[in-house]
Symmetry: C2
Subunit: 1008 residues, 2 copies
């Protein structure tokens, strides 16, 4: 059969979804960014009324325009949108059937559900679900809608959004959307390009180069006001229409580059507020109307049950409960879990499963747990058929109350026995530390394993928690993704329970590409055979190993190797149940792009492994992991190659656009990028850094040669933020700046500093190494801290939108790791003075405290002794490097055998002077030999210490003084009656204690 035409694909989808009972809807007559915006989705998903709908939506995303130069990325593309409310219970299967309806056989492709958590800030909407990949190409967004217009959805809607062009591209085997046959060839030749290509170029030109920013802004304001007016009159749809128009206007302005960062947040806030008001009004309107839509064809499904015997008939005929130890199997069948959740679930199962069986007093010979994207498994070998019996001694009333004067049991004792279910004759006397009591030995007979498991398993499953959980049906259960079946067997017997509207049974499901066939499991032992027949590798380690081996083999075949990438490997391992690795190639021309770009594209967008040669140079290959067997692997490979070609084309497009002009020329664009309203644009920040360079270089004591480098680098530091590559892939900021700088002939050191000034980008990231890079990195962070604190934007609780914790930590890490002795108070002043708003003394102190807190946390994370850290930080928190040094010193000292005596000596000096004002030391007035000796020792010690001497040096000299201290306290009465004598002695001790000042506060130490 020839591949369907574009229009026939739409017709087949219409037919398919109409058969499922969907309303066939029309695209909206307002420009939308996505079908979600159509009121048939965004409003109809609100409230309790059921709603099934399917429609095409031309989706306008000005920002995605590529002047028709990309094979499959355009400012306009056709979505096919389906909403199923409530969840019919099998939406993934319906979706896969719909693909078959248009001619996509899952056996011939690699169809994958890859985690994607969708969110639309403007619409106040979010949901969890997946991107669906067809041979590496994202063809569909599949989401369980949790919230819309800021309102919780009850019930949840299933949203399926097909990318029609990409589906047809794959179906027709074309290289670019422009070549897609729109018509059935029987009706002649007409391509997608014939219809749209010219318009695509024009729209891009309009959005990027022509649109009048001022006019569109004004229109936005008018429309926002109209939305409000309409809503004031209770007009929901007209109000919503204007929200959509505003949204498009915003997208236009954004593509035109007219929206800065903070401004963007403001626009989003306005749109979200509008949407929320509309949603509230709509919900209320429907309530008042009494929810008129009530189509029984769209009712929520009954409980899902997966057994080989009919629902309601109880156990399978002829099956009796085991009376001997038997295997136990729990399989929680889910829709594809996110990779991270597979790990999380596995870790929880490993901890919780033994605990469960232990708590239930169910012995077993061995216990294993597995997790794949589609199943969580607990398997116990030879589980006891019953709980072990329990014997407990329960303490009753005191003996004196339990027996009357005649030694007979009192009513209290009899009541106790009755309450404990034991015969009075079985009561015993026991002696406790509180005296004598009666006690009952209570024996609880073990219950059958099936019964207790049936009771416990719902709670067990409920105990598995995820960072992000979702609801999907009326049970209200939240889980990472919907639970669709549960196998719970004890030997051949089903352990009956219901969780999340799923009834446990004895039918598992097979591999997704095989159509997830029902797999009746006769007994737990048979489970592994069934999985094995499907090629499903339950064990995560085994999956990983297989991937590593195959990957290396395929790389080696082309003389390559795989750069280490544990994160990617871990992720990929959790994306498949049956890993089959394939190698694809791409044009070596693409290797002209910077390596980071290529690797980022392969890794982040496609989860591909890059391949490099023995010198570390990239080869024109990638390695991908398919879920399934080797059937039609060539077709899957071909599809993946197409995808990476489009991806690289996109990157090349950006690269071409970016390199057509010098990096410096991107700077003016930064003036439209608001850093923060009060703090000006990113360009302002950039210029601020440049101005601060001399001061920082001086403070850091860097050589004169650093200045020009740092200055130039600061000038260009943020320029790449305006390049298309970075706009598209933010993670490349700095990387591209360095790359483009070098292309422009900037010195290596300048380029490197541009790159390094972003470091560290995250915990565990590299730190700047070059002097200029260090200076800029510090400046950038201090600037953010000073400015944003002054603007009242210090982080609160968990909210840290500007990443100030990370910034502060970066400062700490750089200084500590690069061993830079810098007083942050000194460094902060010029930065604070350079801000466009006043930075008060209090704010400066708050910034320093904030950094100190990061320093503390960082040090404690290094498992350093808490008291040592506190002791040093109490005096040195403003200079992280010195603090680290001091801590290192102190850690050595506290290990010494004589430490306690040294500390004790010092403590005596400190303790007696506590609470005393500072007295002037008059050495000449010291008369007792011991005090004179101490003074001499102190004098020598103090003279031997310089400012840069840290805790170690100080302790070394103090250790030498300890005899003098000891003698002093032995021979001299500090608190002499003569006030002058007393004060002078205290002054001497204060001076001794003062040796620690600026170094450590030993009073924080344990044992002080």
């Amino acid at each position: 059969m020839a591949a369907l035409s574009f229009q026939d694909v739409i017709m087949r989808l219409h037919e398919f979804w109409a058969r499922q009972g969907c309303v066939l809807w029309q695209p909206y007559n307002i420009q939308l960014g996505a079908g979600t915006g159509n009121p048939a989705t965004l409003l109809r998903v609100l409230g309790p009324e059921p709603w099934y709908v399917a429609y095409v939506e031309p989706s306008i995303r000005p920002d995605d325009g590529r002047y028709a130069e990309n094979p499959n990325r355009m400012q306009m593309f056709y979505q096919y949108q389906v909403i199923l409310k409530p969840d019919p219970g099998n939406p993934q299967e319906l979706y896969l059937q719909s693909l078959q309806a248009v001619g996509i056989d899952p056996r011939e492709h690699d169809i994958r559900f890859v985690e994607d958590n969708w969110e639309s800030p403007a619409l106040g909407a979010w949901g969890l679900g997946w991107e669906v990949w067809l041979d590496g190409q994202e063809i569909t967004q599949f989401t369980y809608f949790q919230q819309a217009g800021g309102l919780e959805l009850e019930p949840v809607s299933v949203e399926i959004t097909y990318g029609l062009e990409r589906i047809v591209l794959a179906l027709q085997g074309k290289d670019a959307v422009w070549d897609i046959d729109w018509l059935d060839p029987a009706n002649g030749k007409l391509t997608y390009g014939d219809i749209f290509r010219r318009a695509e170029v024009e729209h891009c030109t309009y959005y990027f180069d022509v649109a009048d920013v001022e006019g569109l802004r004004r229109t936005y304001d008018v429309y926002e006001q109209e939305s409000r007016r309409a809503l004031e009159h209770g007009l929901v749809i007209p109000a919503y229409d204007y929200v959509l128009k505003c949204s498009h206007l915003f997208n236009e302005l954004d593509a035109r580059g007219a929206i800065g960062v903070t401004e963007r947040a403001g626009y989003f806030r306005r749109m979200r507020a509008m949407t929320r008001n509309v949603a509230l009004a709509y919900a209320e309107q429907r309530r008042q109307m009494g929810y008129p839509i009530d189509n029984p064809a769209w009712a929520a499904p009954a409980l899902a049950s997966h057994t080989t015997f009919p629902q309601g008939e109880g156990e399978r005929p002829g099956i009796v409960l085991p009376t001997e130890p038997a295997d136990f199997l729990l399989e929680i069948g889910v829709e594809e879990l996110p990779a991270g959740d597979v790990d999380d679930a596995l870790a929880q199962l490993r901890a919780a499963a033994p605990k469960l069986l232990g708590d239930l007093r169910l012995d077993c010979q061995s216990l294993v747990t597995y997790a794949t994207p589609r199943r969580l498994v607990v398997y116990a070998h030879r589980l006891a058929p019953r709980q072990t019996d329990l014997e407990r001694t329960v303490q009753g009333p005191p003996a004196r109350a339990a027996f009357d004067a005649d030694g007979n049991l009192t009513q209290a004792a009899i009541g106790f026995a009755r309450k404990q279910g034991v015969d009075v004759s079985a009561l015993q006397r026991i002696t406790t530390k509180d005296g004598e009591y009666v006690a009952a030995v209570v024996r609880t007979a073990g219950r059958p394993a099936v019964d207790v498991l049936a009771e416990a398993l719902p709670g067990f499953i409920a105990g598995i928690r995820f960072d992000k959980a979702m609801r999907w049906n009326a049970s209200g259960v939240a889980f990472s993704r919907p639970i669709r079946w549960i196998v719970a067997l004890f030997g051949p017997a089903v352990i009956p329970f219901t969780y999340a509207n799923v009834v446990s049974g004895n039918v598992s499901r097979g591999l997704r590409p095989y159509g997830s066939p029902d797999l009746p499991i006769e007994s737990p032992a048979a489970y592994f055979k069934a999985m094995g027949e499907q090629g499903i590798v339950l064990d995560q380690d085994e999956r990983r190993t297989r991937i590593v081996e195959q990957t290396h083999t395929l790389a080696a075949e082309v003389g390559g190797r795989i750069p280490e990438d544990a994160d990617l490997l871990a992720e990929v391992t959790n994306l498949v149940e049956r890993p089959t690795v394939l190698r694809g190639g791409f044009s070596p021309d693409h290797l002209a792009l910077p390596r980071e770009v290529l690797v980022t594209v392969m890794r982040k967008h496609q989860r591909y492994f890059a391949v490099e040669d023995e010198h570390g140079k990239l080869l024109p290959y990638f390695i991908a992991v398919r879920n399934g067997d080797r059937q039609h692997l060539d077709q899957v490979t071909h599809g993946n190659e197409h995808v990476i070609r489009a991806r690289f084309a996109d990157a090349a497009y950006f690269y071409r656009k970016d390199t057509a002009r010098p990096l410096e020329s991107f700077l003016p664009r930064l003036s439209t990028l608001t850093f923060q309203e009060k703090l000006g644009s990113v360009l302002d920040k950039n210029n601020r850094l440049a101005g601060l360079v001399p001061a920082m270089v001086a403070l850091l004591g860097m050589g004169e040669h650093v200045l020009p480098v740092a200055r130039r680098a600061a000038h260009l530091a943020k320029a790449d933020l305006a390049t298309q590559m970075v706009v598209e892939m933010t993670s490349l900021q700095g990387v591209m700046g360095r790359h483009y700088a070098l292309l422009n002939g900037e010195p290596e050191a300048v380029a490197e500093a541009i790159y390094e000034h972003w470091l560290p980008r995250s915990a565990g990231d590299a730190l700047p190494r070059t002097p200029a890079g260090i200076a800029l990195a510090l400046l950038d962070r201090l600037d953010s801290l000073a400015g944003l604190f002054a603007a009242g934007l210090e982080p609160r609780a968990t909210a840290d939108p500007y990443g100030l914790r990370r910034a502060a930590l970066g400062v700490v890490q750089i200084l500590a790791t690069r061993q830079i002795d810098l007083d942050l108070a000194e460094a902060l002043d010029p930065v604070a003075n350079a801000q466009p708003i006043p930075v008060s003394t209090e704010v400066r102190a708050a910034v320093l405290d904030f950094i100190a807190a990061r320093l503390r946390a960082w040090l404690l994370d290094l498992d350093l002794p808490h008291d040592v850290v506190e002791a040093v930080l109490a005096e040195q928190s403003r200079n992280p490097y010195r603090a680290v040094q001091g801590i290192d010193d102190l850690r050595e000292w506290v290990k010494r055998e004589d430490w306690s005596s040294i500390l004790d000596s010092f403590a005596r000096c400190v303790r007696i002077t506590r609470g005393q004002p500072a007295y002037p030391l008059r050495p000449e007035a010291l008369s007792e030999p011991a005090e004179r000796d101490l003074y001499t020792a102190y004098r020598r010690a103090a003279d031997s210490l310089t400012l840069s001497d840290n805790v170690g040096a100080m302790l070394a000299v103090f250790a030498g003084m300890t005899p003098a201290v000891t003698r002093f306290f032995e021979d001299v009465l500090v608190m002499d009656e003569d006030q002058a004598v007393r004060e002078n002695r205290l002054a001497l001790l204060q001076a001794v204690a003062g040796l620690a000042a600026g170094r450590a506060d030993f009073s924080k130490l344990v044992g002080f």
Copy 2:
């Protein structure tokens, strides 16, 4: 089979049109008033590239909103739009097949193609075609697109626009769109109302009551500018998108009542200009692209041929050309002609057919012509098989040159004979008034009738002209509607020719509701039998008679009669080939609406005959004429009843809205209705009239009692223009004003004057009769004339947008017919002084001249003698009534036997004084008796004449003076040598001639 659901109807149409090769398209993502606006129509119809497309378009027409109170009229409805470019040759048949595809069987309904000439001023587009009626309901607009964006279309596109709701309404037999089943009942219950009703009410409220006029206006300006900017950058589609957005904004503003008459024209001009610029740019862009779309499946069809033998094989086997007289038949088969064009064509055929045969020298026994909406027929009985021979005598060279001295023929004569194709021996001598010549008798043998007809018939058909003609295929032929077949027979033989890409043949087509079956016509004689079998009544008179008879019978059955309506009868007669009359009823409740409203709705919208009782009171019935037989007549009747119900519901809606408030309360609204920019609003005009009432009443010499009536009527005169009924049906202006005034308790006379002030509305219309009505009617027209002339808007050539010719003619008709002696110069002055802009003396004169010109034209139309009219108008054009009187007088006088002597007498007085200055008459200096007698006669005559004496009275007194005149010229030498005597005699004659001043200028008369 159950009726299809709404969404299934769309799917069936998609399937049907996809099978015809159409691109299935999506609605546009910008609010459109109609599918025509979608670039898939408006731009793709431009230029030579073929294009077949079909799509749904939600069409937004704010003005049509009824707050969901009407069963089938809404601000949003779904169009299904099809474009076929070029014309496939059978678009009507395809369309009818598509109706069958959704379950509409033409045999069970009355499907009619009713003339509709579509125009979109904003899009600069127009075309000719039809509304398609299904049982009286307009369900489709079918147009041959002639122009779009101001550009001629080559080729022409066929545009088919279905009104989906109305089609489904009929299919499902629902009473209101809100009850339409959107889903197949197998998928549950969901109505159109469930989806749209609430939104409909909201949109109406927004458009009519909430929208912010100023904001939307500003947005229009921004968008207009964006369109221009985009176009300056060559961006056609973005520019066009903004045109569409402007168009919707305009519609919103209009519905909000924010657009005055002139302002509207301005907006249309702006939108038209934008569209035209876009269209030009698009056309040029496609040209530069080399017209890439070239789908052979959409190629124009080959020649259409309708014969019972294969194309190219010539004559039918065994058929030989008649050699004896045989019948001749020409049938031009067309798509449904407009009613008026049927009449026009018939009249032309009646004149041209005999002339054709005469010119061709083809005798026949009798000749008849017929016209129906689908065929134009010429039938000649016993036409000669050959032309009659022709014998002509052709004059050659003079005899002296034709013969040499020997009497032999010269070379000149021989050459002449050769040239004429005669033997030299046949040359003859003839004698003319110029002398003797040689001559040849040239005989042309008659050629076969078939040959000459084959040559002549194309020209004959081309000779049929229509007021509005259209092109449809590559032949470029223009005709009222497309010619689809031609039967041309001479006896059994086809007369072969091609016209408009149609090859003549011998196959006619039957009645439309029978599927227009092919009807092979063996011979002309068989034609009438074939038509008869189809029930087709070729003869117009017979059709009319049948309609009249059936109509009257059906009316009589319910005790009613049909009010005379010749125009409607004539129209209906031309809308059907087989008339079958049906009677439908409607709820008597609707009779509460004013009769004019009901009749207007029935007549104008539906072509129904109203039914009244013997007292002239309407009965709740209507009578409609179906094209076809009586099959399923009940269903057709039911459909028609549904339609009129909806129509009346709409009227009732307006009536309800209008009568909810007093008529006076509509006045303020008139302030937003611009009459003309410089002349203010309609309210200003209304108030101007009210202010002028006293002056006009006085000038007209009407009694004091008229003043309050006229004043009150003037105050309310234009109020009904703001009522919804009049906004909807302009023809009811005045009618509704009168009606609503009476409802408000205004006096009869006031109400009548409100009505009458609009009279006459057209040529042949009634004239005002009441004094107040007359006064207002005159004032209204003079006001328009004075103001608009002053504003520089006098009519030019054929353009008369403000209807000033009609206004001036109205003034003339009222004054003349109501016999009102009014000096227009006097009447104009106060009106001119009341204008908000200065009205100069020149302008006033121009207005009076303009009215005089209307008066002249009107008089000449009455077939009055041209010279008499000119003579009187020369002196009395400013007072139409007196002019008419004068003309009447003069016409009597010129009939008198002594008229020439009277005229001669008067002429002598005039002629001799011509070119002389005016001399003072000194009676005392007259000395000769004849001159003294003449003076005495003059004196008596002059004294006996009063100002009001017209031409008759003046001639009567002058007739008495003629002896004196005669004697004067006999006895007196006027041109005496004495200058004083001479001048005094000339002065006397000037005085005599002056008797005609202000009455007539006799020098204009024939014989003067």
